[in-house]
């Protein structure tokens, strides 16, 4: 990992359990990292969430989307919760999302990715 990525990991891992996907969407999901979802769902919860809000796969954990939906309204980016997020670019794992944000690399989508507003 490059120095910036190491720094990013050092900051974000302890706080948000950052997985270093290199294309951070934390702010638009209520400051809850969707990459902690065992299914890495970036567009909302799956249908398997337990009645008490715990994860289908890891019952010891609250569903990241239950937390996201709860927390998003308290952030300045509440409306972004409803965005349709593009598929993960698997080439970016382990790279710094800060660098990818500044270079706009994290906003590159496949050519055929087309979502109405």
């Amino acid at each position: 990992m490059k120095p910036l990525a190491l720094l990013e990991a050092a900051v974000k891992k302890p706080v948000w359990g950052c997985q270093m996907c290199g294309q951070c969407v934390l702010h638009s999901t209520g400051m809850t990292c969707p990459m902690n979802c065992p299914k890495t769902l970036r567009n909302g919860p799956c249908g398997g969430v337990r009645p008490d809000g715990r994860c289908e796969v890891k019952p010891e954990m609250r569903c990241v989307w239950v937390k996201a939906v709860e927390r998003a309204p308290r952030t300045p980016w509440a409306h972004e919760l409803h965005d349709i997020r593009k598929p993960v670019d698997n080439r970016l794992w382990g790279t710094s999302s800060w660098a990818n944000f500044l270079s706009k690399r994290d906003r590159e989508a496949p050519k055929g990715w087309n979502v109405e507003a």
């Binding site: 249908g47 337990r50 009645p51 796969v57 349709i84 598929p87 993960v88 979502v115």
Partner: protein, 312 residues
């Protein structure tokens, strides 16, 4: 245009059912699974490794259904295939004239009998819908052209009862924005979550943009209810419901009554366009339920334009 799409567009009451999983036995095995309700349903779902157990592939089963004269709804889950394989299945479906596709996230591998398997989830259900919709429009996710474009009629699922319940209609709307035209809801044994979901679906316009089909599950025994409650991700069965079936003089009949009540309740809700029925046994339960509820055969619905509201 698929028969399902036609029924939805025409505003007729829509009935779909799930095919029990198939592991072999040729076309005869497929036929015996839908024969009891052949005349009733508009389409039958070919499931994709339900509950993370391997079975004959959804494309193979969908083709079998088609060969037997039954219209398939091919389910496609994100758990077992990356985006290349998902697009290959969609192109394959298009190639063979299978139009109805239901896109799901899928139960996790840990719900199945091979929990040591690698989970994929390269796309989520919404991203899969966007991808399938792009293919409908004539190109793969990469932008590469598909000519002719596959004819696809896309759908999705939603679980009104799973937390966060106040977000479920919103998420379903996201699926509609991504291209879903019908929604087969997860089975529920409580009325309140479905009522709430449908209220929100009507208010937000979701119900007018996609055909919402609540699912009703027919079980034979209270122990099956207990099994569903404990083992099936995302479905809980209230203790009093299990208790009611267990303490009945005839538990099997009581389970059937329960399904009839849930189906009748679901179809009475504003915005509901039809039902999706699931029976875990190869018997006539689905046909009996339709008879009890006065749901006419598909042919009759087509002839008389039987609408959801008339069915109430």
């Amino acid at each position: 245009m698929s028969r399902l799409e036609d029924a939805i567009d025409a505003g007729r009451f829509v009935l779909t059912a799930e095919l029990l999983t198939v592991n072999g036995g040729g076309l005869a095995a497929v036929h015996e699974r839908f024969e009891p309700f052949e005349e009733l349903v508009d389409a039958v779902n070919a499931t994709d490794n339900t509950a993370a157990h391997a079975h004959a592939s959804p494309l193979a089963v969908a083709v079998a259904l088609q060969q037997l004269g039954m219209e398939p709804v091919m389910q496609l889950v994100c758990r077992d295939r990356n985006r290349l394989a998902l697009q290959a299945e969609l192109a394959g479906a298009g190639l063979l004239g299978i139009e109805n596709i239901c896109c799901l996230t899928g139960d996790d591998v840990t719900a199945g009998d091979e929990p040591e398997a690698r989970r994929v989830f390269d796309l989520d259900a919404i991203q899969l819908l966007v991808t399938a919709n792009a293919m409908r429009g004539g190109h793969y996710l990469s932008g590469r052209k598909i000519d002719p474009a596959p004819r696809l009629f896309l759908g999705a699922v939603e679980n009104p009862a799973a937390p966060p319940v106040d977000y479920r209609a919103e998420r379903a709307l996201k699926k509609v924005r991504a291209g879903a035209r019908f929604l087969q809801l997860q089975v529920g044994f409580e009325r309140e979550p479905l009522e709430r979901f449908m209220r929100e679906a009507v208010a937000s316009g979701l119900a007018s943009q996609a055909a919402i089909l609540p699912s009703v599950c027919l079980v034979r025994s209270p122990s099956a209810l207990r099994f569903i409650d404990e083992k099936v991700p995302g479905i809980s069965v209230p203790a009093d419901v299990i208790e009611r079936c267990e303490s009945a003089a005839d538990p099997e009949a009581e389970c059937f009554e329960l399904a009839c009540e849930l189906a009748d309740h679901a179809r009475s809700l504003s915005g509901v366009r039809g039902l999706h029925l699931i029976s875990f046994r190869k018997e006539a339960g689905i046909a009996r339920l339709c008879e009890r509820l006065g749901i006419p055969t598909r042919r009759e619905r087509e002839l008389r334009g039987h609408s959801p509201r008339v069915a109430v």
